[in-house]
């Protein structure tokens, strides 16, 4: 009802210039324009909350066992698995592991990709040549095979090893984007102007160029999170994962042999993966528009 009232005189605090908090609000306002990105944001938020609050809101402890392979019911919304554990609780705890894997890998990718891309793009010349050839080599490696080979080389099967290897292989695309943005922005007049005011290279890179490309970096990072979750799930499903962790990939692997008579064991972790990927991608797409200063509300 209230929303139908004509907009009254604005609160006097609105008259001033946007502070940091209201700038976030502007991004949100722009994001809200696209229904799909709101849905994406909702899914991301929902899954993150489920993961964060799992110890509080999960109906059972993940180690709790009851009767095995019960179909979904009021008691066990997602049914129980082959060992009698509650699937809903497992999926919620699995979200913690899977999302952690996604975020941690993206963190490694960001550090490597941004650093290598910006050094190559800003300094150019020989440095650029060397760094970009290394990037090309890493980019041509078939990711899945390299992951399997690399992970097999380690004697420890741990989530950390998988994160490290995925991060070490995942940066080239980001590095290329960062490099090309640096190449174009370092030629702009405002960089020249900053130089003419006596700014150091470091200052120009960190303060004048990096903030200008942050939106592309954030979008790529957002879209890459589900990729890494997927890669880990695939690896685990193929048997190269860490069976001690309870990621969605492990749940899929455990449920696969029982697929014919207990469909719920594999379906719910699979759907969780699907929706996470969908959510991050829709959200990332919306962010691309919302973070662009040049796109007015």
């Amino acid at each position: 009802m209230d929303s139908h009232l004509p907009a009254g005189p604005k609160d006097k605090s609105e008259v001033g210039k946007p502070s940091r908090a209201t700038q976030l609000f502007i991004v949100w306002k722009k994001l809200r324009k696209s229904k799909l990105s709101v849905v994406g944001f909702g899914i991301v938020l929902f899954i993150s909350m489920a993961a964060l609050l799992a110890p509080i809101i999960a109906p059972y402890d993940p180690e709790w066992t009851g009767r095995a392979r019960r179909p979904p019911s009021m008691e066990h919304v997602f049914g129980t698995d082959g060992r009698g554990r509650d699937m809903l609780s497992l999926v919620m705890y699995g979200a913690r592991v899977s999302i952690f894997i996604g975020l941690a890998t993206v963190a490694i990718e960001l550090i490597l990709g941004v650093a290598i891309g910006m050094i190559a793009g800003y300094f150019g010349g020989m440095i650029d040549e060397i760094l970009m050839r290394i990037t090309d080599v890493v980019l041509t490696l078939p990711t899945m095979m390299m992951l399997i080979v690399a992970i097999s080389m380690f004697s420890v099967r741990g989530v950390h090893v998988i994160i490290l290897v995925m991060g070490l292989l995942g940066w080239p695309f980001l590095a290329r984007v960062v490099r090309s943005e640096f190449l174009s922005i370092r030629e702009t007049t405002f960089v020249e102007a900053a130089r003419s005011m006596g700014a150091t290279s470091w200052r120009i890179i960190m303060r004048h160029i990096l903030p200008n490309i942050l939106s592309s970096v954030i979008v790529i990072a957002t879209m890459d999170i589900p990729w890494y979750i997927f890669y880990e799930a695939t690896l685990t499903f193929l048997g190269f994962g860490d069976p001690q962790s309870a990621s969605w990939g492990v749940l899929l692997q455990l449920g696969y042999p029982k697929m014919q008579h207990s469909w719920w064991i594999i379906t719910f972790p699979g759907l969780a993966l699907l929706f996470t990927s969908l959510g991050f991608n829709l959200f990332g797409d919306g962010l691309r528009n919302a973070l662009d200063v040049k796109v007015r509300e």
């Binding site: 102007a193 003419s196 200008n212």
Partner: protein
């Protein structure tokens, strides 16, 4: 006369590209006195901007300063380290550019960028810096500066941004302000305002100005002295009045005749036939020779030196001076 602030001596800046060396600035001499405004005129591609960037030592690969000296306040800028140069840039010499719309970083507020410039060169408390930014924005004629400091560059108009750029350039009280075609991308009314502002700046901040432009109208508004460049060479150097009354070099003459004037009746404006010379491996003679109507045999073989042709007036042309004087006649 007053003392010299900047003395560019025999400066050579070349760009090394695959086809050879582009001699963008070739043996140029220039002098700016304290408090003086020098106009550097020439058509596109004659090396004006390269000249400015050379003084700031901002020439980047594949360009290189290959010879000469740049004396500023008794010190040779070419023998300074990069760190020492950074202190001078924005501190003692600062620069404004021709396209104000892209001279500011779009993701930071105008105020924070000017504040950054101040913080780079001065030790000041946060609130002092803020006050200074507001004060200087007010000085360059930004209305309600305490509000507008918080605006982003895209919320300013082109003229206001150029004012803000001037404010940034002046924020550390530079001795020399290099203005690289500051009014080129602005419409005529704003141009006039910016020129007016530059005139006040000159009085109030007591800075020398190197004004680069191709528009004699703009130059004549502001400058005490004029230097004319052609094809990477300095061809004439004199007082503003002298240039307008008795330009000696054929290029300067032609350039002046190509300006529309209200006081002289002409059917058509003069055009200079031909185009700007290639600066890659230029021929040994005078750069203007192929387009010059007084060209003599010697002009295509030898490079004319800059010689004194009057009181504080020099020109680089074989028509004058002692060396094999050709007859001063039109063909």
């Amino acid at each position: 006369m007053n003392e010299t602030l900047l003395n560019v001596n025999d400066l050579k800046t070349y760009f090394f590209i695959a086809e050879g060396a582009v001699k963008a600035v070739d043996s140029v001499h220039l002098k700016i006195g304290v408090g003086e405004v020098l106009g550097l005129v020439g058509e596109s591609g004659c090396g004006k901007s390269t000249m400015a960037l050379s003084i700031m030592r901002l020439i980047r690969h594949p360009g290189k300063i290959v010879g000469g000296e740049i004396w500023f306040e008794g010190e040779n800028l070419l023998s300074k380290s990069e760190g020492e140069m950074r202190k001078i840039r924005g501190g003692k010499i600062s620069m404004i550019f021709q396209n104000p719309m892209s001279s500011m970083n779009p993701v930071f507020t105008v105020g924070s960028q000017i504040a950054e410039a101040i913080k780079l060169h001065q030790d000041a408390q946060k609130h002092e810096v803020r006050e200074k930014v507001v004060e200087i924005l007010g000085k360059v004629g930004i209305p309600s500066p305490s509000e507008r400091v918080k605006d982003y560059p895209h919320e300013y108009s082109g003229g206001m941004l150029q004012r803000a750029m001037i404010a940034m350039a002046l924020s550390c009280n530079p001795k020399l302000l290099i203005a690289d075609e500051p009014t080129t991308n602005l419409d005529v009314t704003i141009q006039a305002q910016i020129l007016e502002l530059m005139r006040t700046v000159r009085k109030e901040f007591d800075a020398s100005i190197l004004l680069i432009g191709h528009d004699f109208g703009v130059i004549s508004e502001l400058c005490d002295k004029v230097a004319v460049m052609y094809g990477g060479k300095l061809v004439e150097h004199a007082d503003l009045a002298t240039i307008f009354k008795e330009a000696k070099h054929p290029y300067t003459q032609a350039l002046l005749e190509s300006i529309p004037r209200l006081d002289v009746e002409t059917e058509r404006l003069r055009i200079i036939p031909g185009s700007v010379p290639q600066l890659i491996n230029p021929h040994p003679g005078c750069r203007f020779c192929p387009r010059c109507e007084y060209a003599k045999e010697i002009c295509s073989k030898e490079d004319p030196p800059l010689i004194e042709v009057g009181q504080g007036h020099s020109a680089a042309c074989f028509l004058y001076g002692s060396i094999d004087k050709p007859n001063h006649q039109r063909k």
